[in-house]
Every structure is written in structure tokens, then in C-alpha cells.
Symmetry: C2
Subunit: 295 residues, 2 copies
Amino acid sequence: MTTSTGASRTVWLDGVFLPAAEARVSVDDRGFLFGDGAYEVVRVVRGAMFEAERHLRRLDRTLQGIGIGYGRAMELREVAERLLDENRLREDEATVYVQVTRGAASPRTHHFPPAGTRPTAYASAAPFVPFDALRARGAAVVTVPDIRWARCDLKTVNLLPNTLAKQRAVEAGAAEAVFVRDGIVTEGASSNVWGVVRGVLRTHPMTPAILAGVTREVVLEVARERGLPVEEVPLFLEEVRGLEECFLCSTTLDVMPVVSVDGEPVRGGSPGPVARLLQEGLRERMDTGVLAAPR
Amino acid sequence: MTTSTGASRTVWLDGVFLPAAEARVSVDDRGFLFGDGAYEVVRVVRGAMFEAERHLRRLDRTLQGIGIGYGRAMELREVAERLLDENRLREDEATVYVQVTRGAASPRTHHFPPAGTRPTAYASAAPFVPFDALRARGAAVVTVPDIRWARCDLKTVNLLPNTLAKQRAVEAGAAEAVFVRDGIVTEGASSNVWGVVRGVLRTHPMTPAILAGVTREVVLEVARERGLPVEEVPLFLEEVRGLEECFLCSTTLDVMPVVSVDGEPVRGGSPGPVARLLQEGLRERMDTGVLAAPR
């Protein structure tokens, strides 16, 4: 264990930097009692956060979407910067985690707590090693029924279905669980899903059925920059095994080729050129810190 | 505030009885990070828990359903008994709250933490005043789309949709939000829903779309004991306003007549005799501590 993963790593909770082992929240915190909060994970490359602004804007959108009045999402960037310093994470890769809940209130009520209840804000940073070895050979995925709620566009900590799906993947020796609803591939438990169909890149359109992945957005931009045809149209499960290529993307997976689905090979079991091209484009942006045009 | 609602009330966390103000969980607790846990609320009448065994068995079922290995759900009864003593809750009414999460683990992973990770167990008790005044005049409810996940039979702390629904009710001046999926009334944000249709009691059948309410079971038993015809068949939203009676039931609402839905009166806006009869039967069981036959 390095300093920054062990108990002595420094985290931030409600305005205070403190050792992780001392960072505790009340049992009355609505994060603990209701999963009543929003979160983000931001990638850090050689000490610099990648697309921090898009992540923090999305945090703000989620908080607004669930009615948590926390106007300081963008300020968490400074908190994260200091966590990277405190934990000596400026050299290699890392991730920053931020979470805001509706705060602690007693008595427990399903409805919102009294006005003035202060949201709980938490941030941490940890070293990260990219999944390059897995990327070279490609990932196995399993499909699971998409039993989640109807607002998957909100990045909340109501993550139990994602947890159960990911566990199923792990038990099957797979890297990711891919949700399927009414025969349609929505997204992975913590990633977006892509296919190549007759030379055209395809990924699920931005609806409440999926999260607006930051990496998904960046990959869309990279694809367009490189002149690859793209359509935001859902993939059907029955198409997946016949895809020219299938891949995932996320803040931690980057672009991850999928080489098998439910034990059946995709593309003969080998990663494809489109995934590789997009990974190179994504990685280039990460390495140069190039920000996409504001949207 | 009485002693037992204030900061000096005694709660129980991971085997230790301690003041509520000192009861804190790690920011790495999967309850806080993923809403990865199960809970129960048990009613206490004159110091005695009502149907504690059914509640704790259901806790055990939920824990098994989400793969949390915690074999001690039934032992929480003794914990609750001591909380009632410590907080001097043996005279009036009260509620006991228990929650078990998958425990604290770092690094954060969607999938289950390493074997041996100890679940976090928490329990508290608080005074409770029954909603008798509201019962006398009847409750207003609002309907909301049922956007929850597909496993509402599991009583987990992934409660954000319930929170958002209940808040909508509060903002509309209503006591409860009633979920409607595909035109069918499933259940309330924290209650089950009943109707009387041509003299027959009707409530949603036990499917994964609703929670197996303990009070729902007791009310079913009371109805059958009293010879009321009952069918476990869903109500359609379009039937609701024309119902002879509509009511809710839950651990804290008991049997609660509904007198308006989305601002439109039900039964001319007055509570009905079937709800009253069932409330009397439920209350009798609570007062005498009569346990239903084991199922």
C-alpha cells in the first residue's frame, strides 16, 4: 500500500482536510440512510485532472435534478487540487472522487429535511493504474437485465443495482456487466457501450436511460474529429455478437475493447482497429490536457 | 424535544451502545457510497415491538436478496429491546429503526468488497405519535410515475425515488405519494395502497413491484378474520377516484383513509367504514400484542 491508499491518506469532508481513518459521517446522514446524494469520479493524468469542469458541471446537474441545494460544485476543483498535493499524486495517474449528500437530519423522514440542513460534501483522491493489459487483450462482458430506475441520467449514489450487476460480472470472470432493457443495450454498470455496425459507430442516445458519460462525450468528439461516421442510436442485444467491433468507455476504462459477450466471442475474440484509434485519440487528449470545445 | 429524540439519545452501532451524536460511519461505508444496505422500521406500542419477528425476517430476506452475508438479523431484537430501555421508551409509542450495510471497504469498487468485510449494523429508537388526527379527517395523496427499479420487494436504502416522491407529496400538501406504473397503482412511497371495489377489498399482489408490507399482511389477516372479501389484484389509476373507499397502510400510518387523490375527492372526501373497521382490528392486535399465525 502506498501512502495515499492507506489509512493515512488525506481526504476532505465538510470543509476539513483530515486522515481518511478519521473521516466519518453521522448515521443520520441521508447518504447513509437513503443513498440521497450525487457523486463524480475524475481522472487525473500526471497530476492534472482531465475534464474536471465537465464532471463538476454534471455533479451540479445531478444535484439540481434531485433538489439538493449545493451551489459549490465547481469549487470542489480546488479541493481536489489540494488533495492531489497532500497525497503526492502529481506524478502518476490517479482518480478524484467527490460526493455530496442532502446532509444529516433527525428525525429521519423520507421527504427533504428542514431548510438550512447543510449538505455533506466529501472528496478523496487515490492512485490509479490504467487497464492497459486488459485493453491489449480485450474485455469479457456479461449482459444483465436493466432493472434500474428510470433516471439513469442522474449520477446518484443509489447504486445498488449497479453493484449487483458488477458483482455478477466479477463472478463470471468478466470486466463489466452490460444492461439490457427490452432487448436494447443501454449501458454498462459503470461505462457506456459502443458498437461498429457496417462501418458506422453507434452508441445509445442521451436519454434518461443512460448516464451522459464524460468519456462518451469526448469519444464522440474524437470520432468526429477523425471523420468516423457516428450515430446515436441504440444497439439491440441480438446485434451485439455480430458487431464489427464492440467497446466500452468510462473515466477509468478509457476505450475498452469487448471481445466476448456472455462467453461468446465478438470479432473472433480480438480487439479491433476503431477502438484502438479512439483510445489513441482519447489518450492524446489526456496527455496533452487538450480540452474539448465548450458545449 | 424529549431525551430520546435529542442528541443525547442512545443508539447502537456495530455492537456498541453510544450517544447518537457520536454514532458515525466511515466515508468508505458502502451505505454512504452506494446505498448498499437494507433496513426496517418496527412499531413499538407501550414498550412492546409489534411484529418484530416478521420485520427482522424480512430484513434477513432483503440481506440475502442483495448478497449481504449478515446472519444476525434476528439478534437485533435484543438490541432493540435494550434501546427501548436506554431511551425510556417503554411507556408510550415508539419506532425502532435498524439498518445493515455491506460495510466499509477501500478502495471503492462497485462489486462486492473482499470476503471478510464486516457489515455495518445500526439501530436506533425514537418516540412516535400515531397519526390519529389525520386518520380522523383522512389523507390527501398525489400520484407520481413509478420510476423505481424492478425489485421493490427488497427493502433497501436505495430510497432516492421514494424521497423525491414523498417530497412532491409534501409540496402538494399531501400525506403520501402513490406510485403509478403503466396505469396501475403499485404502492405508496412508504405504504401499501388498498381500495374497495363493489364491496371487495383489493390490494396489489405480492410481486417484485411492491414491498411485502408487514402491515399489509396483518391487514389481510384482519380482513379475512372479519369475513371481508379480499382480492390481491392491482388497482388501475382510473378506478381510484370512483372507489367506494381507498386507504393506505404502513408501520407508521396504520390504516389511513385516503380522501383525495391529486386534489379530487374520493368518497366525497370522508373516511369510510371499511378503513375504520380494519384500523380497529389492527389496533386491537397492536394493543394486545396478538401475533398472527406463523406463515
